[in-house]
Symmetry: D2
Subunit: 301 residues, 4 copies
C-alpha cells in the first residue's frame, strides 16, 4: 500500500522502515530535519510539510500518526483537516487516551474522514521482531488497512487483531501497559531481594538467564532484564528514578471508574512516583510524628 | 504496692514516676548510673544490681520489666531466676513478641514464678496522661497487680483491661502498633498531598488544627501531628527516614499466618522500609528495563 | 444571621438545627415534604420552592447548599441564578469536587454573586458536637459568614478556618476523607487480626474500649468503632460490603496528578471496591492460570 | 546416570520420566501404589519401600526427593539416614524453605552425606519443555550431578545453573515464585479491567492471543493465560478462590527481614488471602463504622 507516516521519532521511523521492508510505499513527515534525513536513508520519502505529505498521496489517502499523545495529536488533526478529502483515513498508532480517540473519531466522522486507533507495543525491538497491534475502528476501514497490520505485526496472522470499535485499540493498549507496570515491578522487587541477600552472593545475570528457559516467569521482559543485568550487573551509574508516561495513570483511573480493584497495577505506578520523590514530605512527617508522640530520635539532614 | 522497676529508660522511668505519684513504693534498677540517679530524683529508690533490687523487696515480690524487646528480656530473666522465690511475679511491660512471652511464661511457671504481660501504649505522654494497658496472664495474678494498672492507666477504670491469657496482652499491643502504622501513614500521605497542592498555599498547621475539633479524623495522633507541624511547618532539617521497631513486622507476619489480609498495615511497613532505601536497586532496574525495551532515557547518578 | 438552607437531608437538617440553636434565623427548602415538615418541627421555616425561599430572605442573601455532590449542585445553581441579586452569596457545604467548585465560583462571580465552599466533617454527630469546617473563598465573604461558622463549629474559635481561595475548602475536605479511608482501613484490618486469633478469644469491644484512653491509636473514629462493636460484637447480619462516595477516588486521582505517592489511601479505596466485587474475575483467572501451568486444582462454584 | 526418585506425584513422576527419556536409569518410590504403577509404565523401576530403593542403587548413591515441603522432607531424611552410606547424595528438588535446607544440609554433612537443593520451575509443562533449575550446593557435588541437570533442563546449557552454596537454590526459587505471584496478579487485574469494560465487548482470548506476539507483556504465563481463556472465556464455574503454597509468604517474610520493600509481591499474596476471605470481618467493620459515624446505610446479609 501507499501511506504516509507522520512523526519519525523512535517509534514512527522504525515502523515506517518495517513497512518499507514489507513492500509498502511510505512517505514521511517530521518537524525535525534530522529525523527526515534519517528516514530518507531507510527508503522513506521525506516531505517537508504536512501539506506536501498529503498532496503526494493518492486518494483515498492513508496517514499513520506516531506522535506523542495529547495536544500534538489534536494539533496534527487540525492541520490535516483542511488538507484531507472524504474517504481518507488517519490511524493513530500512538499512546492516546481512548476517550480522546473517541472524541477525535467523532470529529473526523463529521467530515467523512475515517479514524482508526492502533495500540502499538514492541518498543525499539518492533522493527526487527514486529509489533503487537490492537486495532479499533470500523470493520471496513480495518479491512482496508489490513496489509499494513500484517506487515507491522510479527507475522501476517499473529500479533495483531481488530479488537473493537474505535477507542478499543487504545483502551486495550492502555491496559497492556498497566500490566507491563505490574510485571516490571514484580521483577524489580524480586531481583532486589536477590541482590540484598549477601549471604548467597548471587550472580543476578546468571539467575535471570537461568529463568529464561523453562521457568514459569520466563518472558520477553525477562529477556530484556537479562540484557540489562548482563550489560551492567550492579546497575552502576543508573539513578533510582523511574518515569511513567500516562498509560499507567489512565489504567488506574479506569479501574476505579469501573469499580475494578487493581491494587498491584496501581501500586506499581505509585512506586514510580515514589522513586522520584527524593525528599518525601510524608516520610519527614512520619519521623516528626514518631518523635512527637514517642520521643523517637529524628534523623537530621 | 511495693514493686521494682527493671529498666529506667524513657518508658520505665516515666512509669515508675507515675507509680510513685500514685502512692506506690518503687525501687528501680538500670545498668546506667545516670538513669538511676534521674530515677532517684523522682522518688524511685535506686539499686545498683538486680540482686540488690530483688533482695530489697518483700515477698511475694513484684518486678516490672521495661527493657528492650528480645535477648535482653531473656538475659534479665536468666539473671533473676536464681534470685526469685516461688510466688514472685514478673511483669513484662515492654514490646516483646507474644510467642516469646508464652515461652517465657512457661519457663517461669516451671519455677512457680508468675509472669504477666502488659502491652503498654502512650509514649512519652503516658506519665502525664496515663497509659493504655493490655494485660495478659492468669486472673489471680492480674487481680493481685490491679492497683498498679489502676495507677498507670488514665483512670482506675479506664484504659486498661485483662484481655486474656499470658501473651494476649503483647499480642493485642502488637496489633495496636500495626494499626498505628496505618493511621500514621494515612495522615502522612494526606498532609503530603495538601503540601504539594501549591495552588492553594495551604497552611498545614492550621488545617491540622481545624481537624482537631469536630472532624471525623480527629485523634490523639492528629494532636501530636499538629504539635509537630506547628513546631516546624516545613519539616525543615528532618530526614525522610522512618524507623520501625518490630511490632509492625510481627503484625504482618501474624496476619499472613492467620490468612487475614492486612494490606494497608503491611504497606505502611513497606513504606518505612522504602524510606530507608535511598539507592533502590528495584528502581534502578526499572529504569534499566525501560531503557532496554523501549529506549527510554536513563537518569544518571 | 438570617439564612436559607437548601437541602434538608441528614446533614442539612442537622446543620440548620444547630444554626437555629445558635440563634440564627433559618429558612429551608427540600423537595421532600417530609424533610420540610421535620425541619419545621426544629424551628426552621420551611419554604415550598427555591423561589419562595429566595424571596423570603433579606438582601444581601445568604444561602447554604447541602445537596448531593454532582449534577444536583449545578441544577440548583441554575435554578437560583435568575432568583438572586448581585451581592448574594451561596455556600456549598457539601462534598463537591473542588474543580467543580472553582468552575461554579467563576460562573457565579460573572453574575456578581459570591460563592464560598465549606468542607464539612462530623457526620451525624455534628449536630451535638459541632462540625469541622474547612472554608474556601474570598476573605471578605468568609468574614461576612463568620457567625455561621462559629455556630456550626464545636466552638467559636475551634474546628473551623478559612484555608484558602474558593475550592481550597473542598480540596482540604477531600484529602480529609482520603485520610479517613486509610484510618478506617487500618482499624478494620487490626480488629480483623484480633478477631481471627481464636487462641486468645479476645473481647473486641473490650480491647477497643481499653484503647480509647491513653493509647496512641485513640481517636474519635475509635470511639465510634467501640460503639459499633459494643452494639454488635460479632457484626452479625452486616454484609461485608463497603460503599465509597467520591472523595476517596478524587484524592487518589489528585495524588497521582500531583505525583505524590499515596499508597495507603489508594489501597483503602481499592479494598472498598474489592468488598463489592463478589465474583472477582481476577481471582477466577488466577485460579485458572494456576491450573493451566501447574495443574493446581480449581475450586468449582 | 543411575538415580532414585523419591515422590512420584505430578512433579516427581514427570521429572523421572524426562530423566528416563534422557537415558538415565531411574528407580522410584512413592507411598501410593497407583503412583508407582504409573511410573513403571513410563520406564521407572518402582520400589515398594525406601529401604528397597536405597538397596537397589549403586554406591555412591544419588537420590532425588520430590515431596511436599515441610515435615515430609524431614521424615524422609530421617528414614533415609540409617540406609545411606558416606558419599551418597540427596537432592531436594521440591519447594523447601531455604533455611530448612541449610539446617538439613548441615545434618547430612555431619554424616558425610551430600545434600544439594534444586529449585525447580516449569510446572506440568516441564516434562515436555524442560525445567528451569536453580541449584545450590558444593561445586563438586553439583558437578557430579551435572548430567541430571542437563537432561532435566530445556537444553544442556540452558535453563539451569549452580547459583551458590546449599540453600541458594531454594532461596532463588522462592523469589522466583514471589515474582510469579506479582506477574499473575498483574495479568489478572488487567484482564479484569478489560472484562468489565462492557462498552467495548472485548474478546479476551483474542486480546491475550494478540499480545503473545510482539508485545512487551508476552510471556510464557501469558501463553498459559491464553490457553485458559480460550478454554473457558467467561471462566464459568471457576470459583474466585486462589490458593497459595508457602513460597509467596516466605518471600514476603524474607523481604521484610532484609529491609527490602516488595509491595507488589506482598500485595499479590494479600490478594490471594483476600480471595479466600468470603465473609470479611474487616469489611463488615468498615460498614458498621460508616453507619456509626455517618449514618450510612448497612447492607444486610
Amino acid at each position: 500500500m501507499e501511506l504516509a507516516m507522520i512523526g519519525l521519532g523512535r517509534m514512527g521511523a522504525n515502523m515506517a522502515q518495517r513497512l518499507v521492508q514489507g513492500g509498502h510505499v511510505v512517505s514521511g513527515y517530521d518537524p525535525g530535519e534530522a529525523a527526515r534525513e534519517a528516514a530518507a536513508a531507510n527508503g522513506i520519502a521525506p516531505k517537508s510539510s504536512l501539506a506536501e505529505l498529503v498532496a503526494s498521496l493518492p486518494a483515498p489517502r492513508v496517514l499513520w500518526m506516531m506522535v506523542p499523545a495529547g495536544a500534538i495529536v489534536d494539533d496534527t488533526l487540525a492541520q490535516l483537516l483542511p488538507l484531507l478529502a472524504p474517504g481518507d483515513v488517519v490511524i493513530d498508532g500512538g499512546n492516546s487516551m481512548y476517550k480522546d480517540t473517541q472524541r477525535r473519531a467523532a470529529m473526523m466522522a463529521s467530515h467523512q474522514l475515517g479514524y482508526v486507533d492502533c495500540g502499538t507495543s514492541g518498543g525499539i525491538w518492533g522493527l526487527a521482531e514486529g509489533y503487537s497491534l490492537m486495532v479499533g475502528g470500523e470493520a471496513a476501514l480495518v479491512q482496508r488497512l489490513r496489509p499494513l497490520f500484517e506487515t507491522l505485526a510479527p507475522a501476517a496472522d499473529k500479533g495483531w487483531g481488530h479488537v473493537g470499535p474505535v477507542g478499543a485499540g487504545h483502551f486495550t493498549k492502555m491496559v497492556h501497559n498497566g500490566i507491563e507496570y505490574g510485571m516490571m515491578q514484580a521483577y524489580a522487587e524480586g531481583f532486589s531481594i536477590l541482590q540484598h541477600k549477601q549471604e548467597f552472593a548471587l550472580d543476578l545475570p546468571q539467575v535471570a538467564d537461568i529463568w529464561r528457559d523453562g521457568s514459569v516467569v520466563r518472558s520477553w521482559l525477562l529477556d530484556r532484564t537479562t540484557d540489562a543485568l548482563k550489560d551492567n550487573p550492579t546497575l552502576e551509574g543508573i539513578a533510582p528514578y523511574v518515569e511513567d508516561s500516562g498509560e499507567g495513570r489512565w489504567t488506574v483511573a479506569e479501574a476505579i471508574e469501573l469499580d475494578v480493584p487493581a491494587p498491584v497495577i496501581t501500586l506499581s505506578l505509585m512506586e514510580r512516583l515514589r522513586s522520584r520523590d527524593k525528599d518525601s514530605f510524608a516520610d519527614k512527617l512520619l519521623a516528626a510524628m514518631r518523635n512527637a508522640f514517642g520521643g523517637h530520635r529524628i534523623t537530621r539532614q
